[in-house]
Symmetry: C2
Subunit: 110 residues, 2 copies
DNA sequence: AACATTCATCGTATTATTACAATAAATAAA
DNA sequence: TTTATTTATTGTAATAATACGATGAATGTT
């Protein structure tokens, strides 16, 4: 069917998956890393930086924006993007809770 | 096209995306959480726990195994799965480096 | 106003992912 | 050996994701 059965899972599980999915493409990872590296906001040079076509970058930016991880600000003819600090921190909280589960209890039976 | 242009990105970026992608489905999140919760290994009751069909679970387990995040051990007619501790720790290292980028330098111009 | 620049959106081809029925493979139990 | 149990694999239908050309929208420049 190709349709994720969201209703079978908890809100938390769906939320983790949603964040993870947006990081599940190297272009979006590259975009975010670039936004972190450049301490001011950045616009269309992401196209040059990442090396994909402009509509493709725009599409990836849209997904990052929809999840709230970045903000976009129109500045004249270009658009300035940056990390959404508060939301990034909130996301990190959720992802860390998942990633940092206690391994010491694990039996490693295999 | 629908084909990720892996060659445009660094190994690190592709690796981050690959780990993130496997967490990008709530069923796999649920499977991993269950493997963490149960301090011994677990087999086919993941089907009951998660609520998807057996071939679907088997497919998700395969992906987690291929990335090295879980191990599977045949025990009689059933298979015992558990977290691969070392690889999980290594993955966490890589993901943390990405998630924990320094926000304090960010200008928040938008 | 006319043109240029930058980004978003639309349309669409291609590939990937998800889910499951059917079936095979492997082992245990009778 | 036959039967049951458990998991993996195969095949396939349906949906999602990726990428980009073409085009539109918005603003700046001349």
């Amino acid at each position: 069917m190709g349709l994720t059965k969201t209703e079978k899972f908890t809100d938390k599980q769906n939320q983790i998956a949603q964040f993870a999915k947006v990081f599940g493409h190297p272009a979006r990872v590259a975009i975010l890393q670039h936004l972190f590296r450049i301490d001011s906001c950045v616009c269309g040079d992401l196209v040059l930086e990442v090396g994909l076509a402009q509509p493709t970058i725009s599409q990836h930016l849209k997904e990052l924006k929809q999840l709230g991880l970045i903000k976009g600000n129109v500045e004249g003819t270009s658009v300035c993007y940056c990390i959404h600090k508060e939301n990034w921190t909130a996301m990190k909280e959720i992802m860390s809770e998942f990633l940092d589960q206690d391994l010491s209890l694990q039996q490693d039976c295999c």
